[in-house]
Amino acid sequence: MTILRVEGADVYYGNIHALKDVSLLVERGEIVTLIGSNGAGKTTTLRAISGLAHPRRGTIALEGKDITRTPAHRIATLGIAHVPEGRRVFGRLTVRENLEMGAYTRHDRDWIAADLDEVFAVFPRLKERIRQTAGTLSGGEQQMLAMGRALMARPQLLLLDEPSMGLAPLLVEQIFRSVTDINRAGTTVLLVEQNAYMALQVATRGYVLQTGSVVLSGPAESLLANEEVRKAYLGE
């Protein structure tokens, strides 16, 4: 069953044509990854889906419902949570408040407490830091917080933008393991990564973006085996 359908999306930043006729599909339960070099349009694709940038042409539909022109704060209530590039935790808010911000659109207070515990089960480090302001956390902890914050919304579709950026290899592995865990627990994931190798390892399917267009797509294994992908993105 299709959860997300992007069709022929064109996004502009001023005069810059950032996305050109991009189409992609995400089925429920999948981990789909967008790979590509810097400036290929990966982040822009996620921003268009979560409503931070609106396509000039094309449509975006969540479970068949058109959300092309829906503002970001409305989309957040429809089951999409976006972990933005660079984590963007609220540095002056405490860890707890950051997590509560994730549950901002929800009103079921008791469940929020239960979800806090669930997030702490995935990221135990956050529990130790619950009263600290997020700005005092390390980069890895901030990434965990940003992901935990998104989980607090109980999303159906989780958009992850470069979760491995700037992290030590050990932490990268831990983050990717969490992505798999989150997916197994029933959340569909759309993952943007520069670390194409790691991304294709966990993903079901992938799309390759180049200067704003989709140039290749398919099951993760076949992309991993693809000659061009190996040359361009896996450094072989």
Partner: protein, 389 residues
Amino acid sequence: MTTAVAAIDFELLGRIFPRVLVDGILLGFVYSLIALGYTMVYGVLEFINFAHSEIFMVGAFIGAEVLLILQAARVLAASPPLLSLLASVLAAGVIAGLLAVTIERVAYRPLRGAPRLVPLISAIGVSFFLQDLVRMIWALHRNAFYLTYPPIEVFNQRFPAGAYALWGGAAAVAIAAIGWLMRRAGRGVARARFESLSMLPKYTSIALGIVSVGLLILDPNRVLTVPVKSLVVIGASLLVLSVLVYVVNQTKLGMAIRAVAEDQATASLMGVNVNQIISVTFLIGGLMGGIAGALFGLQFGTVNPYSGFIPGLKAFTAAVLGGIGNIPGAMLGGLVLGVLEALAGSYLSLISGGAFGAEYKDIFAFSVLILILIFRPRGLLGEVVREKL
């Protein structure tokens, strides 16, 4: 005393000190209330709302108007003074708050994407517009250029604060004990909300304790009297400031305001309607500005359409002094500026043997401000949040 060579009369300086301090704190709280409007709006939009001084002035006019209407209806003298005050202050706050929201919608929001100077010019335009609008309305309405607050009898009496210093100290101890018991009883519950509630007796007792001890030291003969009006203004300011601190730090709305202040795009990803939060911020800022206007009018008696300019400028200064965008900073900045100004106003001429009169108080206060900003450009509590990559 006014001869140039007269020795400084230290005994006199000491004797008037408590009174000067009360005046300074009062002025300081009024500045704090106004400064919060500047600093909160700056926090969410990084924009100085220069029309805020006129929002304050409108509050002062509404406050006076309500009391004048009550007086004309002959209920002012008959009804409890605190009730009249509440009506006046609330009306001033609500109307000023709604005015601030309207100004943002009409004059600032359409310019959201424009270069920074553009909304600033728009704000200055709104300032002039409001000054002349108020002038026109009240010229037609009362044929008067300025309004005089009708006197409320009780407020002009004096409260023998010195005589009550020991009682105040006892009350502080009692409240501290209640707070301690509350925290003990609530230890098992440990809910964040309860914790914040138990802060109330803690800070009340600390404040009361400082005041009582201060009184015992500064006024050993227990003769100090304070105008009831001043106590009412200080008390009302403290109440409003406490409610604000609670809302900003302990409620979901306050959390959303802080999140928007930090990162609008990410806040919207959380489902926060950023425009709505910006409106709420203007509402809160205007509310406090309007309340400050009514309290200011009550304290100093008359207001005219240009009364907002100087207090507004000083409150803006207080916000910068405390660290623009920083809420505790605005409160501290206001208090520091108010106390400095009162000290300068009373002591400059006494210490300089009359060479510098009270009219130099602003020069003194602003010189201190410039010095502080030279050594701490971020302001007293301003911080630089370092972002990790």
